[in-house]
Symmetry: C2
Subunit: 158 residues, 2 copies
């Protein structure tokens, strides 16, 4: 297990939310920004407790810069603001999804998303055994997939 | 700057792709799985070079388990396979987006996504100054947003 950690910097984040977070050893977790109407995945940034607090309370996405070791509010320099629409924590508390209305391109290159120019050659899977998605099928009597990320919460860091 | 690193394990990943990756100090980077038709962000897992190689070449998503320190192929235990549709690297090479066809719920809880149960109270931003998105506006003459994650590539790790 990678070392997980508590917050590294002071934060006004609601303690009940802070208690659900699983941070890496730098006190950080990834945050996915998704455009509300198109569903586009715009970018992935990093947050700590206080960046999440500011994102939850100011209406604009705030991230932690790993290179500069400081907070940055998306759009403060470029004008390409991310207006927060909703925020959700994932099942094991180590990733945040922020649904936004993005002003301008999310990427510093001017692209709409940071993934627009990065397509890689991939073998497309052949779902010959795929059934229609049926969440109900998974709710009862099915073992937790031991290789699921959420199962990692069963083995907390020392 | 957090320490970035080379691959930690042997991999058959195409060296031209490997050269574009920016890994954390454990040789890992986050991978966002998105449902092809609905656009739902399903989950975020972790990959190293070899997990990416397997994802690109087998048609199914493979991740690295941080808790068990081994590869896991999504759906091998639960049947909830992720069939790969496309894979893209982000602009600064430290995140992957995998568009998939998800069989069953992506979450070990049975939910369709790992974010379904995690909504947090958030102030909704007021985009009173928001113009319609116009990527062209951003292409010429605009400085790189210095607080953008991609700008972090301007300050490489020592």
């Amino acid at each position: 297990m990678e070392p997980m950690s508590g917050p590294r910097r002071p934060s006004a984040l609601d303690p009940t939310i802070a208690a659900r977070l699983k941070r890496d050893e730098h006190g950080l977790f990834p945050a996915v920004a998704q455009q509300r109407d198109t569903g586009q995945v715009l970018m992935v940034g990093w947050m700590d407790d206080e960046a999440l607090h500011r994102t939850l309370t100011t209406g604009r996405c705030t991230y932690w810069s790993r290179s500069r070791q400081e907070y940055w509010v998306k759009g403060d320099t470029s004008g390409h603001v991310q207006w927060v629409r909703s925020v959700a924590l994932d099942c094991d508390g180590d990733t945040v999804l922020v649904v936004v209305d993005q002003v301008g391109g999310a990427c510093h290159t001017g692209d709409e998303t940071c993934f627009d120019a990065g397509a890689m050659p991939a073998v497309v899977g052949a779902p010959q055994t795929a059934a229609p998605r049926d969440p109900d099928r998974t709710r009862a009597g099915e073992p937790v997939e031991e290789s699921d990320p959420a199962a990692e919460t069963l083995t907390p860091a020392p």
